[in-house]
Subunit: 431 residues, 2 copies
Amino acid sequence: MAQPGIGDKVKIKTRKASYEGILMPRSELSDKEHIVLKLDSGYNIGISKQDISKIEQVPESRKTRAPKVIVKAGKGLPKISVVSTGGTITSKVDYKTGGVSPFKTGEELLAGMPKLAEIVQINDIKQPFSLLSEDISHKDWSKIAKEVYSELKKDTEGVIVTHGTDTLHYTSAALSFMIEGLNKPIAVVGAQRSADRGSFDGLMNMLCATHYCLSDIAEVAIVMHAGSSDEYCIASQGTKVRKMHTSRRDAFRPINDEPIVKIWPDGNLVMTGTQYNERSSGNPKLLDKVEERVALIHSYPGARPEILEHYIDKKYKGIIIAGTGFGHVATQPLDKKESWLKAVTNTVDSGIFVGMTSQALYGTTDSMIYSAGRLLKNAGVTYLKDMLPETAYVKLAWALGNFKRSELEEKMLENISGEINERIQPGSFLY
Amino acid sequence: MAQPGIGDKVKIKTRKASYEGILMPRSELSDKEHIVLKLDSGYNIGISKQDISKIEQVPESRKTRAPKVIVKAGKGLPKISVVSTGGTITSKVDYKTGGVSPFKTGEELLAGMPKLAEIVQINDIKQPFSLLSEDISHKDWSKIAKEVYSELKKDTEGVIVTHGTDTLHYTSAALSFMIEGLNKPIAVVGAQRSADRGSFDGLMNMLCATHYCLSDIAEVAIVMHAGSSDEYCIASQGTKVRKMHTSRRDAFRPINDEPIVKIWPDGNLVMTGTQYNERSSGNPKLLDKVEERVALIHSYPGARPEILEHYIDKKYKGIIIAGTGFGHVATQPLDKKESWLKAVTNTVDSGIFVGMTSQALYGTTDSMIYSAGRLLKNAGVTYLKDMLPETAYVKLAWALGNFKRSELEEKMLENISGEINERIQPGSFLY
C-alpha cells in the first residue's frame, strides 16, 4: 500500500494513544511539525509528528470531500448561501504559537464540515472580507448587507453569515435594520471554541443555522448553542441578543425576549411562541447607508459630562447613553462648572440626537418614574424603551444614514425589527 | 370618640373599597389632598381625601411607634447601625406629580418599618447626605465609608447602608475596598419599588439586611430580593454584583459568583458554600482616598481611539476598558490616521494605568487566546481576570488614591475583597 495521502483514512499510534481519522491537508490546519486528523466525531486533532510511532492507511478509506465535490454531491438538495467574514468559526490554530488566525477561504471552512453537504447545497460562498470581529466596523456591516441582499435575490432558501463572536450581535442588529421587508431566513453564526478543540461548537452551530435557513422564519437571528452541552441551539432575534459570557458556548442570550425557535442538529425545530415574520415572496429593500459619527457612552458615578463636549467638537450626529437604572445620569451638578443636565441640553441644542438606554440591560427605560428621567426627557433625550444599548447604537448609526433628521425620533421609537418589546415576558429574565 | 389622629388605627370607606390600617403622619408620606394608611401587611397606601365617604377610629388602636420609641422598646436586643444615604428605600411619593423624592430623615424611614424593632435596637442612624444614587460620586463613597468605619468601632453587630439602587453596586464595591480587614457584616440595601406600592420591597430587604448584620459573615454584601416573590433575599459579595434589571425586585445578581447566603425574612439563613471572612475582633483600617480622574470606556464597532487622547489631555490617571469578548478592542487600524493599538500605547506611555475587563460581564478576560489580546498586553494593558467593569473602575479609583503607582498593577491583580474568582462555578452563569 502507498504512503497515506491527504483525504485518506489512517490509523496513527503515538506513545500515549492511537487515533483513527481522515488526514487533513497540511496547509489548512497544521504546520510542518504536526499533522491534523479529522476524527469520526467531526472534530479535528493535531498530533506532533515526533510523537507518532506508527501511521498506516485504513483500507476502504475515502477521500475528504472538497467543497466543490459537496456542491456536486448534493444535487437535488435545497440551496442556501454562505457569507463568510472571519472569526473563530472559520479559524485555524497555529500549533506553534497556540494562537488562532482566520481561514483564508470559504473552501477551507467547508472542507471541515462535510455533514452540511448531506442536508443542503451551498449556492455560493461569498467572502467580502476576512476579519476577526473586534476589527469589524460600520462600513463592514454595509459590505455584509450588500452580499446578503444579493444572495437573497438568487435561488436560495436562506443565508448563513459566519462571523467572529466578539461583535456578532452588533452585526446581527445591523443586518436586521439594513434589509427592509426581509423575505427569507438569515442566520448569523459563530463559534466560541476553535476547531482544534474537542468542544468546538462551530460544526453544530452551522448545522443548526442550516436548518434555520430551511425554516419559514424570515428574520435575522443569531443561531448558537443553547446550553453547555451539545444538545440543541437557539435562534434569537438579531436585535435582542447579546454575548453574555467570554467563553461559554451558550454565551449568546436573548435579552428581554425569548428565542424564536429551538433547533436540534438533526433538524427538529421547536417554536417558543415568539412572534416572527414568515417567509414570503416579497422583494426586500437594501438600506445600507450608515453614519459613522455616532457614539455609545455609559454613565457611572463620577463620570464627567465634558465627554459630551468632546463629541460636539468632533461633529458627532448621535449619541446613545447607557444610563443607570431606568435611564439616568447624574442631574445634580458635580461641581460649579460641570453639570450633566447642562451638557445634555447643549448636546441636543447642537442638533445631536441623544437616545437613552439602560446599562442594567434587562427591563425597560422609563423617563417618568424619577425626577432625573423627567429632567432628561425635558432636555430633549429620547427614551428608547427596552432597546439594548448595543442595538440602539447600531440603529442610530443606520437611521442617521438613511433618514432625514426630522424623521429620526419616530424611526428610533418604531419597532422595525423586533428591537422593542412593549410587553416583556417574565421568563425572559436571565434566560 | 375623638377625631382620629396620627398613629390611630382607622377604618376608611371609599366608593370603591374599605381599608383598615394605621393613619400615617401627613408630613411623611402624603400631601394635603391624600392621607396614607399603613396596612397590617406593612405596606402603605395613599387614599385621595375626595374619595373617602367615611372614616372611623377602630377601638383599641395603638400609636405608631416612632423611632425613639423603637430604641427604648428594644432594650436588651442586639444593636446594629444604620447609615442612610437616600434612594427609593427611603423615599416618599408626591401624590400630585407621581414623582418620588427622598425622605429627609432616618426617623421618617423607621417610622414606616416597626417590624425591625422586634429584632434589633438601632444604635444610630447616620445620614452623611441624602441623594438619589445616580447623583452619588467618588467623594460620597468616602463619606459613607467614614461613617461606616466610625460605627464599626461602636457596640454594634453590623451596619446597614441604605442607598438608591441605580449605583448601589458601585458603592458596595467602594466600601469593600475602603475598609481593610473588615470585622463585622455590612449590608448595602435598597428598594426597587417605592413605599406607596403594594410591591414595596424595602421592608423585606431591610429585615433580611438586619438578619445579615446579626450573622458571622464579615463581608460587604448587597442584600436584596432573590426572586419575583417575597420568599427570601440573597446576600451577594459587594464586588461581584450588578443591577441586571431596571425594575424587578430581584434585579441584583451575583456575576461569576453565587450568593454568600440566602436569607428569609424570619431570620433563616442558608449558606451556599461560597467562601467568606468570619466576624472577628480585629481592627479594620480605613483607606478612603480616591482618585477622581479615572474613566470607564466600552469598546464597540466603529469606536474611535481619539477618546483616549481626550483622557490623556484631561490628565487622567487610569482607564478601565470594557472590551469585547475576552477583552479586545480593534487592533487593525480604522484608517491611516487612527489605530487603537497606537492610542493604547500612547496612553500607557503617558503613565496612565489601562485595565481590561469584558462587556460580556460573565466569564473571564484572557489576553493569550487571540492575537488582539496578546498585542494589547504587549502594549501594557493589564488584564483584570473576571473582575466586573464597574468593580474594576471603582477599584482603580481607590487604588490610585491609596497606593503608589509602582504598586498599582499588583494591587489591581490581588484579590482584595472577592472581586476576582480564579475558579468560576458553572452554576453562577445567569444566576
